[in-house]
Symmetry: C2
Amino acid sequence: MELLKGKIKKEGIVLSENVLKVDSFINHQMDPILMKEIGKEFANRFRNENITKVLTIESSGIAPAIMTGLELEVPVIFARKRKSLTLTSDLYTSTVYSYTKKETNEITVSQKYILEGDNVLIIDDFLANGQAAIGLAEIVEKAKAKVSGIGILIEKSFQPGAEDIISKGYRLESLARIKSLHNEDVQFVD
Amino acid sequence: MELLKGKIKKEGIVLSENVLKVDSFINHQMDPILMKEIGKEFANRFRNENITKVLTIESSGIAPAIMTGLELEVPVIFARKRKSLTLTSDLYTSTVYSYTKKETNEITVSQKYILEGDNVLIIDDFLANGQAAIGLAEIVEKAKAKVSGIGILIEKSFQPGAEDIISKGYRLESLARIKSLHNEDVQFVD
């Protein structure tokens, strides 16, 4: 998606060979017009999947997910992150390790909101090691619903998440695919 | 706002005299078409305030805030919550006590994103004791920007937050104002 790639080129800050900071338009300050266009793009790419729910994870996934749900006219659910669970009845849970924060979170979704027969589109901002996306997919599978696709804003293609998701048989659509962050420069996959 | 009040009447669950659960359309599962209408409503109510930024707090404020920012065509910032701060340089911070969760969080916003001269519209899902909204307002004041208004989806008018905000001189617009939750019934302020 050229609009997103242009914004990354212009405003993204390369902090290291692995870390791209996009907190001026995605992660902390958000550009609502860009988010709207991202929602349209995901809706177009997954239009033929008969999506019934969009699932994301708090907090940075919420804005692109709500715009995608708006275009597809389906409900949007955000999974909550917790350090540890006090109560698990009526919740689907999965464990997600964050390499960035070096911590393990449990992610939870109420069993009321993902049902057998649902076609679920998973949306998240970044794909690096794939932990969050795979954790969300596990929740969908536990609900006996279908993972109809995974939509990512920024894929760091040099990390293993994308390959891992595809090897599990899921359809992956990433709007910007980054080949490398060498020399403080963002190189996209052609 | 009749659309929101109707949805609360239909889908809200009164858990106690103080607690209204709206996690089927606001807090966990979200209704994107409702959120879009909420964004339009806030944009209309605050159109004359020359808003330059929308500020909210993760996670439930993000969906209505991004829709409001889309209508007003301004950036949206979400404050982050943390248990304790490791690094405070280049961040504005404030302390917020949650009566629901019985815990204190620090909320933070990067100093890059709220500037002197900004007219900031604060958006949040619930107003009860007013801690989150007042914490966000403190951050705006620290940045020497103006709190141009506070927009709330659901105000529990029988709790002190609304009065507290108005007594501080801020303009408050709540889309649904709840008078009481007695006998498992939602009564709105006329």
